[in-house]
């Protein structure tokens, strides 16, 4: 069993979830409530990873992070080493790759909050932040949890982007899916099966528990209510 790969993958998924909760929620809020006429462009950019082959995203990220790019050079002069083939590089790639999975369920849930409640909150003197924390967030908590769970599950199973920008360095960038791929390449089907089965069972259990809890506690399922 590839324990180091499993631990690395869980760590990656947790870090990505936390980062995306912090940046995905404001993006979802902005997309829901902005009157900007070019909003659809922002929506398209956020949704791009849904349709783009992971290798394409990974390729451009690799180029953007590489020593030829200003961003890559800046990072290297700052940290002493490049971003590609490091855990930090994996995090950056995974955050971009999972962005739509965080933003879309949250934006869908925010949009379902009755606008008169938001107006009522404003008239009662609440700032936008207070309105968000006291009214919008509690009423769309189902969508927020969905976003986090999907992000976690999606990052667990990521392969293409990780392979492109992380490579296959044990303990640094070798995630579960890459370990399985390695096993299959080496014709070690038994080992591949052990890890694959674990990933399958674990993902299914996480989703089932969270979906079940989510339904019974909040009883609001923004995607299909």
């Amino acid at each position: 069993m590839h324990w180091s790969a499993i631990i690395l993958t869980l760590r990656l998924a947790l870090v990505v979830c936390m980062i995306l909760l912090a940046i995905g929620m404001p993006i979802a809020y902005w997309i829901t409530y902005t009157h900007w006429r070019w909003r659809f462009l922002a929506e398209s950019v956020v949704a791009l990873p849904l349709v783009l082959p992971p290798t394409v995203l990974g390729f451009y990220l690799l180029v953007a992070m590489g020593p030829q790019s200003p961003v890559g050079r800046l990072y290297e002069s700052w940290m002493g080493h490049g971003l590609p083939f490091t855990f930090a590089g994996l995090v950056v790639g995974s955050v971009l790759y999972s962005l739509p999975f965080t933003v879309q369920p949250m934006a869908a849930a925010f949009a379902l909050v009755d606008p008169t409640l938001i107006n009522a909150s404003a008239i009662l003197g609440a700032s936008r932040l207070r309105t968000f924390v006291r009214i919008i967030l509690p009423l769309s908590i189902g969508g927020v949890i969905t976003g986090v769970v999907l992000t976690f599950a999606h990052t667990l199973g990521e392969f293409g982007v990780v392979l492109m920008i992380g490579g296959n360095i044990p303990g640094v960038s070798r995630t579960i899916s890459i370990a399985i791929y390695d096993d299959v390449q080496a014709l070690d089907y038994a080992s591949a099966n052990n890890t694959a089965l674990l990933l399958l069972v674990f993902s299914f259990a996480v989703l089932s528990i969270l979906y079940a809890v989510n339904r019974s506690i909040w009883a609001v399922w923004p995607m299909h209510r």
């Binding site: 008169t116 107006n119 009522a120 404003a122 008239i123 009662l124 003197g125």
Partner: protein, 378 residues
Amino acid sequence: MTAAMLSAAATSLSVRVRKILARDFSLEAEFEAGAGITMLFGQSGSGKSTLLSCIAGLIVPDAGHIVLDAKVLFDSQHKVNIPARKRSVGYLFQNLALFPHLTVEQNVQYGLAKVPAAVREKRVSTILESFRIAHLLAGKPNELSGGERQRVALARSLVTDPKVLLLDEPLTALDALTKSQIIADLRAWNASHEIPIIYVTHAVTEAFALGERVIVLDKGRVVAKGTPQEVLDAPRRELIANLAGFENVFDTTVESVSEAQGTMNCHLTGSEVNLEVPLVTVDHDAPIRVAIRAGDIMVATGKPVGLSARNTLKGVLVSLRREVVTMIATVNAGVNFEVHLTPNACCELNLKHGDEVWLVIKTYSCHLVNGDDVSAVN
């Protein structure tokens, strides 16, 4: 602005707004409201809710000037636009907009976030008692009855001590008894606060019963304002006559004028009928119509004698039907008049289809309506 104007605005709301809402529809309204209930009356699509939203700061007018309690809330010329949360406005939404996930207490407290806890609790308990909902404290909005929800929403709006209360048809769905109790509690509260209350409605019965003043809005324009009696009793505009529920509106020409008597003799077009109506100035270039409420016409089964009423018309009862507690009769007296009677009166007169009857109409029950160009009103 002079000092006199400032002091005049101290306890009132002054509104002048223009907002283009569609290519062929714009809101252009101007009015002032002092303490007490002002009914803002108009049919759906007349711009009532938009006007409220402009006052509350939820919609930005294209141009205008809104002053509340000497504070400028909006001024297009000087680029003033105070955000909704700083306007000291109470707003009761049509759907009430109670926060479904918060308890009654949390809902009512919501607008008091910046008030010290001790003061907050006192104000909440006082307002809950004023509106008789103290026992509902721990309940959630979906556990309350319709009337209770209205009271919670009112308490939530008023606990912040707003300078104006805007009500967007909040009571339309309630039964008459609950409605009148809530209005009575609202009046009791306002006796000590004396703020303007703007009550939007499309129901005639509410418009002329609940408020001290009525503003009639039609197609985005204020077409009449005054006390309910003033607006109802002098429907010089056909539009207002239609809005105010005058069942009988006839084209007419002025035959003769008796200035000494203060009356005019009018001929109803296309008939032999003449009516004596009160003397008013009319614009003869515009259409002239006479409006009579169906409930103001009396029915007699024989020719009445010794009456003060100046108009008695002979006719035939052509139809009679019952609508809840009103008998609606149609009498042909040269033209068809709609007449409303109580079922008892109908019974005693033993009225039947085809009966010969006399209609009795007082001069002062006849209202002249001049023209249909609404822009020249007031």
